[in-house]
């Protein structure tokens, strides 16, 4: 092995340790008992492992937060995918007056930061009586994001129109061509869009914090942030809560790592 190769591996290993270390620490701390936290160094495991922190968490309603987060993430992501696909298909394949102008309007909303829209959105939801409801929580984002529509539209345009024309001559309608021809050819971009949506929806914090107040609609991100305020620095429980929030995406990542790394890189450019 050459010296430069050895050097490269050395730097890579250090970089990866840095990237993974906080996760490792979360796992170690979450499984320590109360006495083990002060008795061990942070990077030492507490032996024997203790599930006490998780018991405390689930006793204070974390099971419900977890279920809520899963359902809301699945619901919003499904909605975003469905409505973004429909919109992108219209932009890519149909011609009608106002199409291009409308597409530019959609693109321009890419620049709108969520912080700027949160106050008007809250007041809109208040007027509609949707504060602290599932609809209020999910509605603003589940009708399709401009970014997903943009990525899908760009991809749909690369699919030869001849394929669809052939299917249509055979008598397939628009919906069937979309389902049977366009979507199967668009798997890579669908993986990308789904990944970005799942990560964003699972992690979202500011909107759920504002729009929900009752405990039965609380999401994990809000749950752990408020939990910290209630119990102070009980690091075992806080780390156990963080682990519950971090683990599902990590598991998904391990399974789909190959696709995700490839798919993230195709966004943004071209």
């Amino acid at each position: 092995m050459t010296r430069s190769r050895l050097f490269a591996y050395g730097v890579l290993v250090i970089g990866c340790v840095f990237a993974i270390f906080p996760y490792l620490l979360t796992v170690l701390t979450a499984f320590k008992g109360p006495g083990q936290l002060s008795g061990t160094l942070p990077w030492e495991p507490g032996l024997p492992p203790s599930g006490a922190a998780f018991d405390r968490l689930f006793a204070s309603g974390f099971g419900g937060y977890l279920a809520n987060t899963v359902l809301v993430t699945v619901g919003i992501t499904a909605g975003q995918l469905l409505f973004a696909v429909l919109a992108a298909y219209a932009f890519a394949r149909l011609s009608f007056p106002g199409r291009d102008a409308l597409f530019w309007v959609y693109l321009s909303t890419l620049m709108v930061p969520p912080v700027v829209t949160m106050i008007p959105l809250y007041l809109m939801m208040q007027k509609a009586g949707l504060v602290d409801t599932w609809a209020g929580l999910m509605l603003p984002t589940m009708l399709g994001t401009p970014y997903a529509i943009f990525l899908l539209r760009q991809f749909f345009r690369t699919i030869p129109a001849d394929l669809e024309d052939a299917a249509r001559i055979d008598g397939a309608g628009r919906v069937r061509t979309l389902l049977l021809i366009v979507l199967p050819l668009s798997k890579p971009i669908l993986v990308t869009v789904t990944t970005l949506a799942v990560v964003a929806n699972w992690n979202s914090f500011l909107w759920p914090l504002i729009i929900t107040s009752s405990e039965d609609k609380r999401l994990l991100s809000v749950g752990i942030a408020l939990f910290k305020g209630e119990i102070g620095v009980d690091y075992n429980a806080v780390m156990a809560g963080s682990l519950i929030a971090l683990a599902p995406l990590l598991v998904l990542f391990i399974f789909f790592q190959r696709f995700i790394v490839r798919s993230v890189a195709v966004t943004g450019l071209k």
């Binding site: 190769r5 490269a8 970089g15 990866c16 840095f18 990237a19 993974i20 906080p22 620490l25 936290l37 409505f83 973004a84 919109a87 219209a90 149909l94 011609s95 009608f96 199409r99 409308l102 909303t109 620049m111 709108v112 930061p113 912080v115 700027v116 829209t117 949160m118 106050i119 008007p120 809250y122 809109m124 509605l139 603003p140 984002t141 009708l143 399709g144 401009p146 529509i149 249509r168 309608g173 628009r174 919906v175 699972w202 914090f205 500011l206 504002i210 994990l220 752990i224 942030a225 690091y235 780390m239 809560g241 963080s242 929030a245 790592q257 790394v261 993230v264 195709v266 943004g268 450019l269």
Partner: protein
């Protein structure tokens, strides 16, 4: 309904396409026009009102803006935000470019290294903030315990008004360096290998090659990475909310935190909207000036 009739006249066909187009777009038009575009216009209108939670809204023209410009808290929070952006953006960009150069090498097992480096990107920011707060804990946290091995008495990272901001910014860099690395990596892989061969035939050193060939060719990627990071870090909220709550004092009270505080703790929607408008304008100016700067320079495209 969406099925085309066997041999329709041209006009009906066109009308059908228009109908189909708008039918497909209807849900997303509610989302994009109703929940993204309309709020931008509404927030501007709100900023012209004295709009407190229970009182009747009252039109006050530009009074909120006059108050804004004399408000030391607002100035301070925008300075703090700028400081945060100035640490995060160069830090993330430089680190991710260096990582990309490293993982672009053809070594065994490289795809696993790449994957590991990307993992922090998907971490829930709130959970992550709590984990880092534990790492930064002055007494028992990992950093100070580690420093203790060498006999160094580590500082109280998050409760020092000098160190709190760099610590919080370090978490941002940690989270996004690997993710942005992927964009630079894609950019590097778009550069034809023949250019590398040509310049090494000319006797160029790797460093010279990087600055005169590679870096200029990465400009479109650089623009993308800079813009997304500037926009993102101007809106920092989640990690700061759990790590420092804007403190100690107001040393990490970034603009988003101030807006949240004014709107949802003090319920002063009018004034909070005014600060939002200012933040939006600042983000727009920052974005446009980056485009303008890159526009003036030549870019190269090999695709």
């Amino acid at each position: 309904m969406l099925r085309a009739a066997p041999r329709p006249a041209r006009r009906t066909q066109r009308r059908q396409q228009t109908l189909a187009g708008y039918a497909l777009l209807a849900p997303s038009m509610v989302g994009v026009l109703g929940f993204l575009l309309a709020p931008v216009l509404i927030v501007i209108v709100l900023s012209l009102f004295d709009w407190k939670l229970l009182a009747t809204p009252e039109f006050i023209g530009l009074a909120n803006y006059r108050e804004l410009f004399g408000d030391a808290d607002v100035w301070h929070s925008f300075l703090v935000t700028g400081y945060y952006v100035l640490i995060c953006v160069p830090g993330t960009t430089i680190l991710s470019l260096l990582l990309a150069l490293l993982v672009n090498r053809k070594l065994r097992g490289m795809k696993y290294f790449r994957a590991l480096l990307v993992i922090p990107w998907m971490a829930t920011p709130v959970a992550l903030g709590l984990v880092w707060a534990w790492i930064f804990d002055p007494g028992r946290g990992a950093i100070n315990q580690f420093l203790g091995i060498f006999g160094i008495d580590g500082p109280a990272w998050l409760s020092s008004s000098l160190l709190a901001m760099p610590s919080v910014a370090a978490v941002h860099i940690w989270q996004f360096a690997g993710y942005n690395m992927l964009f630079f990596l894609a950019g590097l892989q778009n550069i034809p290998a023949s250019l590398r061969e040509a310049s090494s035939l000319d006797g160029a050193s790797p460093v010279a090659h990087f600055f005169s060939i590679t870096f200029p060719l990465l400009r479109p990627t650089l623009l993308f990475v800079l813009i997304t990071n500037v926009i993102g870090s101007f809106q920092a909220f989640d990690t700061i909310f759990v790590m420092t709550e804007g403190g100690p004092g107001d040393s990490t009270e970034v603009a988003t935190y101030l807006i949240y505080d004014e709107a949802f703790r003090k319920f002063d929607f009018g004034y909070a909207s005014t600060i939002s408008v200012l933040l939006f304008v600042v983000i727009l100016i920052a974005t446009i000036s980056q485009f303008a700067y890159f526009e003036r320079r030549t870019t190269y495209d090999f695709s």
